[in-house]
Every structure is written in C-alpha cells, then in structure tokens.
C-alpha cells in the first residue's frame, strides 16, 4: 500500500490541473458565446497571422 503515498498526490494534482484548466477557460470567456465559437472556426481572417 506504500504506492498510495505517490499515487494519491498524483491523482489530486491531476484533478487540480483539470480544475485549473476549467478556471482558465472560464476566465478566458470561453463559455460566453458558444454559438460564436462554433462559427468562428470557419473564419479565415486569422489563418495567416494569428490573433494575439
């Protein structure tokens, strides 16, 4: 059972990483315009020069 000493921190860290990614996506306003995001994939304005 000693493996738990490693595995539990690993699993909690992974979970926290997921939570961090969610918080980041929320802060980056990725849930404010779901329809727009769906349409913007087809937008070719920034293909050659990525939008900063």
């Amino acid at each position: 059972m000693n493996v738990l000493v490693i595995l539990i921190p690993v699993s909690v860290t992974l979970g926290l990483a997921g939570l961090g990614a969610f918080v980041w996506s929320l802060r980056a306003r990725q849930y404010e315009d779901p329809e727009g995001s769906r349409a913007r994939i087809l937008d070719d304005r920034w293909d050659d020069e990525p939008r900063p």
Binding site: I8, L26, E32, G36, A39
Partner: protein, 710 residues
C-alpha cells in the same frame, strides 16, 4: 529589424490590443447568423476611425465595441452600408457575472465530487483501518473547502429565508449539505470506521447547481431578448432649439420643450399642438381604428402616431411623467402586487421542505430513543436528509423549461415568465384583441363600385401617407384603375387633399369637411353629390387558420375590442368567433376576464395595445406580438417575435406537453424517494446507496427532459 516569423512583422498595430475588458458601446445585430457575418461586422467596425476593438457575440447577437469618441450613429450607418441592421442598446448593460459565478461553483463542486468519489470507491470496496482513515482525511481536505465555496448560493438563500421566518427549499438543502459534511469531518477526525458522507454532500451541491444554472441561464436569455426588443424602438424626438433641430432621446425631453413630429412618427411625449394640423392614430391607446383630427391647441399623448401633417408640439409631460408611462407603471405595480401563480416547482417544494425536516427529525428521535447512540442516530438522520434532498426535484422543472423555451424561441416565441409554461398549459379559452392583433391595423377599401371616382380619388391620394389614402391607392392598383392626372395637388393636414382636375376643383377628405356625415373618406368632384368611400380592416392572413386551429384543440375563442360594434362584428364573422364584445374600455376588458376567471375559466389574453395591458395582467396567461407597445410587451408572459398568430395553437400544445413532462419528472424523483426513504429510516442506507440513488435520479430526470427535445 529581423523577426523569426514574417507574419509577426505584418501584424497591424490594432491587433495587439487585448480583448476589451469593458465595452464602450453595445449594438444589437438582429440579423447576424454565421461566420461570414461575424467577420464582416468586425472588419467593418474595425475600419472605422476611433474603434479600438469590436467583438461580436453571436449567441446574444450583439457586438461589443471598445472605442473612444465615436458616435453610435456613425457605426450603425457603416454597418448598414455593409448590409447589417444594427440598433444601439441602452448603455452597456452591466456584465452578467451571475452565470459565470454559478459555472465556477459548479466546476469546483464537480471536480471535488469526482475526486472524493474515487476515494470513496476504495472505502466502499473494503479499505479499512489506516487506509480508510487516511482516505477520509484526504476527502475532508478536498470536500470541506469545496462545499464551503460551491454551496454559498444555497446557504445565502436559506439564511435570508430563515431571517424572514420562512422555509424554502434551500433550508433542507443547506442543512443536509452542512450536516453531512460536518458529521463526516468529525468521523474522519476521530477515525470512525463508517464511510463518510463527503461524496453525497458534494454530489448534492453539484446536481443542484446544474439546476440552478439552467434556471439562471433561461431567465438571462429572456431578459436579454426583452432588452433587444426595447432597443428596437428606442424612442427618439426631434427637439427644436434656437439654431435648428436636434435628435434627442425621448427620455431627455423636459416640459416646455418644442418638438417636431413628422408624419409617421410615434409621439414621444404628452403635449399641446402649437402649430400644424394632422390626424392621429390612437389605436395603440384606445383600440379604435378611426384616426382623429388635431389642430393647434389640441392635446396629444405619447404613444399616438402622427399620420398626415407635420406637427409642432409643446411638451407638457415627458419621460416617466407621460400618461403612457404612468399607465404602464400602474400596470407594473398591479402586477407585482398580484399574487403570482406559484409554479409547480414551488408547490412541490412547499410540500416537500417541511416533510424532509419532519422525516429527518423523526428518524433522529426514534433512533436515539431506541439505541441511545447519538452518532448512529445522527447518521441515520443525515442519510434521510441526503436521500430525500430534492436533487432531482431541483433539476426536474428547470431542465424541462430550458429545453422547451429554447424550442419555442426557435419558433419565434419568447417566454418571459418562469411559470408561463405551466399557466399556458392550463388555458381553455383564448381571448383576442382586434386592432393590431387579429388585424394588421391597415385599412382596406370596401367595394369600390364607382371606378371613375376611384381613379380620381387615387390621383388625389397618391401623395399622401394617410392610411386611407394608401388603401385607396392599393384598391386602385388592385382594380387596374390608372390614377387620374391632377394638377396643384396639396394636402390640407387634418382635412384632406385637394387638386385641379380638368379645370375643376376636386377634394378628398374627411366627410365633415365636405358636408357629409359618416365614417370613411368623401370625394367631391365639382358636379353632383360627394361620393363616400368606406373602409374595413385587413385581417392578418393567418388569423382565420390560427383561430380554427385553437378551436380544433378544444379551446374557446373570444374577441374583445374597444372599436365600434360594426367593425368588430365584421371581423368576428370573418373569423367565425361567436363571443365578440365591442366598445370595451380597458377596464371592461379586465372585468370581463375577471368574470371568466370567477367562472373557473383559464384565459389566454392576446393583445398589443395599451388598452390591453390591464387585460394582459388580469388574464391567466398573456401574449403580445412583437409589434405591440412596450407596456403591453412588458405585461405579457410571452412575446410573439414572429408576429404569426398560427404559432399560438402549437405553443399551447407544447406548453401542455412540457408541463406533463415536469409532472413526470417530479413523479420520477418521488419514486426514487419512495424506494430509498424507508431504507434510510431503518438505517440501511449507506453513503454508497445514497450516491447511487442521487446520481441515477438526476440523470433519469435530465434525460427525460431532453427526450424528443428537438
């Protein structure tokens, strides 16, 4: 200068500005729908001088512009040139942080629930002693902060309810969450062998937050659509100032200002006519279709439409003081005082909340009396609370109403009220207003027999914007009559039109002007008695079909109007409506509906004018077309965005289906309880069983809501 990537060098300087944190200007774009629209709008606005950044939100159909010293009119014109309709939205609305906040809490609860659940699986499958103890402590470390953060909306609502001495659904929810987390924490500290309730507390929070979020998102969508509608006709006024005219917002007018009202404009304020003569369309206020004449010294009211001649009006009441605004306000107050229909969810909660408390307390007392073991009794009480907790109940109604209102919105119906669906489902009588609802409000010439007179009248009417003139021209075109060629045609506002025909003076205008009595328009052509034209209203093309569909669904149809009996009878006959009442004042309409309510009828009022707002609030449910007056729209539960009446019957059917689905969901949630509560009461409910029941019921209820929801 060298750069690794050539594209970076070519980046326009404006592109380095980050997404605006706060938009200076918000425009509503009702017509955008695809990626090309987004690109075109953003490119057009980006090319305007002074615009730093424009970002389209397709879900809200709005563009947020960050700009300095730019007039919105310039941007709207630029967009119009690019082929996009745009309206300014009143001052950038405060960004809605509520849904983001709920999403965040939901994310935290979901994360914590899944992690704790993993740890619990180990405990359920037999981990013991030191391992179990360690797992409990780790679970506590994850769960306690998560519960404290995610459960805040429930705790806050429960606290405010308790302060007011009431019980709402959040009280048992908070109690269950707090007790489960607290007791499990105590168990973890002393190293109890029993599995904890952390996962149950978190799952409860998580599922309830989903329901709360759906509810919130639905209401937010309705609010923003209502704001867009209001912006469609942001009232403006032309104020006469020392050096000329200026367009100002109607709200900025003050008593004493002089304003100019062009033909076709809606009056922005109450006042007295200083100069000019014209006809006014008062249909929105009174329901009457006959235009009435005004001359200098005459009183005019906000909401009336100027028809024939330009008017200069001295403002007596503006903004919130106009009779229109005061009436609308009275309606709003009456509405808020009226005891609102309590929704299915509220009614279920009212029965449920005390029951949960009583069951929990009874379980504790009975177990304590039987075993004298405080911890064990508390454990049973918690299991009862957690299992009975209305997780599925919290999802049952919002999930169905979210799915249904989204479907109705795609069909052009905006559901504004939370309980509207349930009330619509109960409707057994649909009551229509006439003017502007069943009819288009436009006049149509009745049997144009004398074609020669019609040609002459059409020649005179050609230059006028009066609805009767337009009706005469339309009739002439329909009959294939060429309008007579006339000279010196002049419009005499308030009276009619005159001109020269083959050297003779001919006049077309109100009958009284030409020495006749009666309704309609008279034509005098020198020789002989003046000819009289009479008019009828144009029915909406789909009105007959819509009425027939409502009757076919087994509901009664009635017609209430403020107009003259003859006009009402014609419309009623054309549509086959037997219950038609004419000459009703706004109060009469409301009284008539109250009388029906006393008879036990559930009415749906469909109306668009200010004279309907009273009726709209009294009726069991109410609907207003998008063309309705602002006051009528705000009083109505549902706004018919497409303006098509034939959507009403399917809407009622959809509402009935949705309500049946809600009841099903409540029953499903109840069924889980019927199985699980006895187990909990006898102390057999383990945290594992609780988690299983809770998740299974929530998922079933959600799936049932989406079923067939296209």
């Amino acid at each position: 200068m060298t750069a690794a990537c050539p594209a970076c060098v070519e980046l326009p300087p404006s592109a380095t500005v980050p997404v605006p944190a706060r938009a200076d200007l918000v425009l509503h774009l009702p017509d955008i729908h695809c990626a090309a629209c987004i690109a075109s709008v953003e490119r057009t606005l980006g090319a305007e001088p002074g615009v730093r950044e424009a970002r389209v939100n397709l879900s809200l159909r709005r563009v947020f512009v960050s700009a300095a010293g730019v007039e919105p009119e310039a941007l709207i014109d630029a967009l119009a040139a690019a082929g996009h309709r745009a309206q300014r939205l009143d001052a950038a609305p405060a960004r809605d942080t509520g849904s983001r906040d709920l999403l965040m809490r939901m994310g935290v609860a979901g994360f914590a629930m899944m992690n704790v659940m993993l740890l619990s699986v180990a405990v359920w499958s037999g981990a013991a002693e030191a391992t179990a103890h360690l797992f409990h402590l780790i679970s506590a470390a994850i769960a306690l902060p998560a519960v404290a953060f995610s459960g805040r909306p429930f705790f806050a609502s429960a606290l405010s309810a308790l302060r007011a001495g009431r019980l709402n659904m959040d009280v048992p929810i908070s109690l269950a969450i707090l007790l489960a987390a607290g007791v499990s924490f105590f168990g973890a500290l002393v190293g109890a062998e029993r599995p904890g309730w952390f996962d149950a507390a978190l799952a409860l929070t998580f599922f309830l937050l989903i329901g709360r979020y759906l509810d919130h998102a639905g209401r937010r969508a309705a609010r923003s659509a209502a704001a867009d509608l209001a912006a469609l006709e942001a009232p403006q006024a032309i104020r006469l100032e020392g050096q000329g005219e200026r367009v100002v917002r109607a709200a900025d007018l003050a008593a004493g200002d002089l304003i100019r009202v062009r033909p076709g404009d809606r009056l922005p304020a109450d006042g007295v006519v200083e100069a000019g003569a014209s006809d006014l369309d008062r249909a929105a206020l009174t329901g009457e279709t006959q235009p009435c004449a005004v001359a200098p010294g005459g009183a005019v009211a906000a909401g009336e439409v100027n028809l024939s001649g330009p008017l200069t009006v001295r403002v007596t009441h503006a903004g919130r003081d106009t009779s229109l605004a005061r009436l609308a306000e009275m309606v709003a107050t009456a509405e808020s005082q009226r005891s609102r229909h309590s929704g299915l969810a509220d009614r279920a909660a009212a029965i449920y909340a005390p029951l949960v408390h009583i069951l929990g307390a009874a379980a504790f007392i009975a177990w304590f009396w039987a075993t004298r073991d405080g911890m064990r009794s508390l454990d049973v009480a918690i299991s009862v609370l957690v299992i009975t907790c209305p997780c599925a109940l919290g999802l049952a109604v919002p999930a169905v109403s979210t799915v249904t209102t989204a479907r109705l919105f795609r069909q052009g119906l905006l559901v504004k009220s939370r309980t509207a669906l349930e009330r619509l489902a109960e409707v057994d009588m649909v009551v229509f207003d006439k003017t502007g609802t069943l009819t288009t409000g436009e006049a149509r010439l009745r049997d144009p027999a004398d074609l020669e007179a019609l040609a002459l009248a059409a020649g005179l009417a050609r230059g006028s914007a009066h609805p009767y003139s337009r009706a005469i021209c339309a009739a002439a075109a329909e009959e294939g009559v060429t309008p007579a060629a006339l000279e010196e045609v002049t419009e005499i506002p308030g009276s009619g039109v005159e001109g020269l025909w083959q050297g003779a003076r001919v006049r077309l205008g109100r009958p009284a002007w030409l020495g006749l009595s009666g309704e309609g328009v008279a034509l005098s052509h020198g020789a002989g008695a003046p000819a009289l034209f009479t008019f009828e209203e144009t029915l909406r093309p789909e009105a007959a079909e819509a009425v027939a569909a409502i009757r076919a669904s087994g509901r009664d149809v009635a017609l209430l109007s403020g107009d003259a009996p003859a006009a009402v009878a014609r419309v009623a006959e054309a549509l086959g409506i037997e219950a038609a009442e004419a000459g009703f004042s706004p109060q009469d309409k409301a009284d008539w509906l109250s009388a029906r309510a006393a008879e036990g009828r559930r009415t749906l009022m469909v109306g668009d004018g200010l004279n309907d707002t009273g009726a709209l609030t009294v009726a069991h449910a109410s609907l207003a077309p998008a063309s309705a007056l602002d006051a009528a729209r705000s009083a109505a539960d549902v706004v018919l965005l497409s303006g098509r009446l034939d959507r009403i019957a399917p809407m009622l059917a959809t509402a009935r289906g949705a309500t049946a689905r809600m009841r099903q969901n409540i029953a499903l949630a109840g069924a889980y309880n019927i199985v699980a509560v006895p187990l909990a009461l006898v102390g057999l409910a383990t945290p594992f069983l609780a988690a299983l029941a809770m998740s299974a019921s929530s998922v079933t209820v959600s799936l049932n809501a989406i079923r067939g929801g296209r």
